[in-house]
């Protein structure tokens, strides 16, 4: 249980470890992208952690990095193909960043640091914790950027609901800069500072 929770807050991959940043900032213009990206990363993370843990005695030590990379790239390609086939809109808005999950440091990092040394069950728990922690970080950033930058919250269309929540006031006069690249970096900096503040407050308690 502790293993699961540490990924969410104490070792949050985005705000604390500062890993996997490229996709974080690039796809965080809309909340729906963050959810899709998060789901993709969780899938790849669980898949690669399971395989690495299963094969830990089969993979020779000297070439473990290329072997891990092949495993990760396979899962990334599967995610990419499934997204193109079944959620094309998401695939289009994530663009090359689906393929770039392969160089997301979180995944190789977890394979190397955790799955190669632990049991399959523990590796799945670790993958879930880290993956959900990553998704939460992504969600927070995309929420800030979309609400401020476009005045909307874009979710999945369901029935009569077209998937877009408009925020009165902001939608007519949004702070455009937040949906552009500088806004991403600024939002990230201030969110990290906020995270530091939260952590220090928790320590004092």
């Amino acid at each position: 249980m502790f293993n699961f929770l540490k990924g969410l807050f104490k070792e949050n991959p985005i705000f604390v470890l500062a890993l996997g940043l490229c996709p974080t900032l690039a796809v965080s213009t809309q909340v729906v992208n963050a959810i899709g990206m998060g789901a993709g990363v969780i899938f790849v993370l669980i898949g690669s952690n399971i395989m690495v843990s299963l094969l830990k005695n089969f993979i020779p030590d000297e070439v473990h990095i290329p072997a891990y990379i092949v495993i990760i790239a396979s899962f990334v390609t599967i995610v990419d193909m499934l997204m193109q086939a079944f959620v094309p809109a998401l695939s289009a808005s994530l663009g090359v960043f689906v393929k770039l999950i392969v160089v997301n440091c979180i995944i190789l990092g977890r394979a190397e640091a955790y799955a190669s040394k632990n049991s399959v069950k523990d590796s799945i728990v670790d993958a879930l914790g880290m993956g959900i922690g990553f998704t939460i970080g992504l969600l927070v950033i995309s929420l800030v950027r979309e609400v401020l930058g476009s005045g909307t919250i874009t979710l999945f269309p369901m029935g009569n609901f077209d998937g877009v929540i408009e925020i009165p006031g902001l939608v007519d006069a949004p702070v455009r800069i937040f949906s552009l690249s500088p806004g991403a970096l600024l939002a990230m900096g201030f969110l990290m500072a906020g995270f530091n503040w939260l952590k220090s407050k928790k320590k004092e308690d």
């Binding site: 500062a18 890993l19 940043l21 490229c22 996709p23 974080t24 900032l25 690039a26 990095i65 290329p66 990379i69 092949v70 790239a73 396979s74 990334v76 390609t77 990419d80 193909m81 663009g95 090359v96 393929k99 770039l100 392969v102 160089v103 440091c105 190789l108 800069i177 552009l180 690249s181 500088p182 806004g183 991403a184 970096l185 600024l186 939002a187 990230m188 900096g189 201030f190 990290m192 500072a193 906020g194 530091n196 503040w197 220090s200």
Partner: protein, 196 residues
């Protein structure tokens, strides 16, 4: 697009780091002093140029004729990983001094999004082999420029009185954001006015 156009685009307008967020990890991680930032920048430039060339050949020479485009991700990442390994061995053998300067950064380049990113962008933009190489090289120079500027800012920031919670990485992001804001002046409209 002309070659000058490609260079201006990837150095300034679509700067790898500041506008596409590719290669952000080393941008924050290795920008604490200028020497290592410049070293990293040159290493990335070299690997990006070479990777653009090699992945182009692999993609258009092997994957497309065999209808194996779905192996793109796996092929590219393996090419990049072996390329980085090769560069590391070559540098170690022929220029120990350079190896000493770059050594520790070389393995990190495998997981640098910018290298994989430019390979995928080359495919998406349907560049020919020379255009791909130019884009890779220019992307690397753009990376070098951004990381060098960042390191210069961070050296100054160390001496400043930064609020406690913003110290370190957060203020680096905020500075990066302001830099990106400045880079927004480099617009595609500028390119259109420059070279038509």
């Amino acid at each position: 697009m002309s070659y000058i156009g490609i260079i201006i685009t990837y150095v300034f307008i679509s700067n790898m780091i500041l506008s596409q967020f590719l290669g952000l990890c080393p941008f924050i991680g290795v920008s604490k002093d200028s020497d290592s930032a410049v070293g990293m920048g040159f290493a990335v430039t070299f690997v990006m140029s070479m990777a653009s060339l090699v992945t182009w050949i692999i993609y258009h020479g092997i994957l497309v004729p065999l209808n194996l485009e779905f192996l793109q991700t796996i092929a590219f990442i393996l090419v990049i990983a072996s390329l980085v390994q090769l560069v590391e061995m070559a540098v170690q053998k022929f220029s120990p001094a350079l190896y000493k300067a770059l050594g520790i950064y070389l393995p990190l380049i495998t997981t640098n999004c910018a290298v994989m990113g430019i390979a995928l962008i080359n495919v998406r933009e349907e560049y020919n082999i020379l255009e791909s190489f130019t884009a890779g090289f220019a992307g690397g120079i753009g990376f070098l420029l951004a990381i060098f500027l960042m390191s210069a800012i961070r050296v100054k920031l160390d001496k400043e009185n930064v609020p406690r919670f913003l110290k370190g990485t957060p203020i680096a992001f905020v500075s990066g954001g302001l830099m990106a804001l400045a880079f927004m002046a480099f617009d595609r409209a500028l390119l259109a006015n420059l070279i038509g």
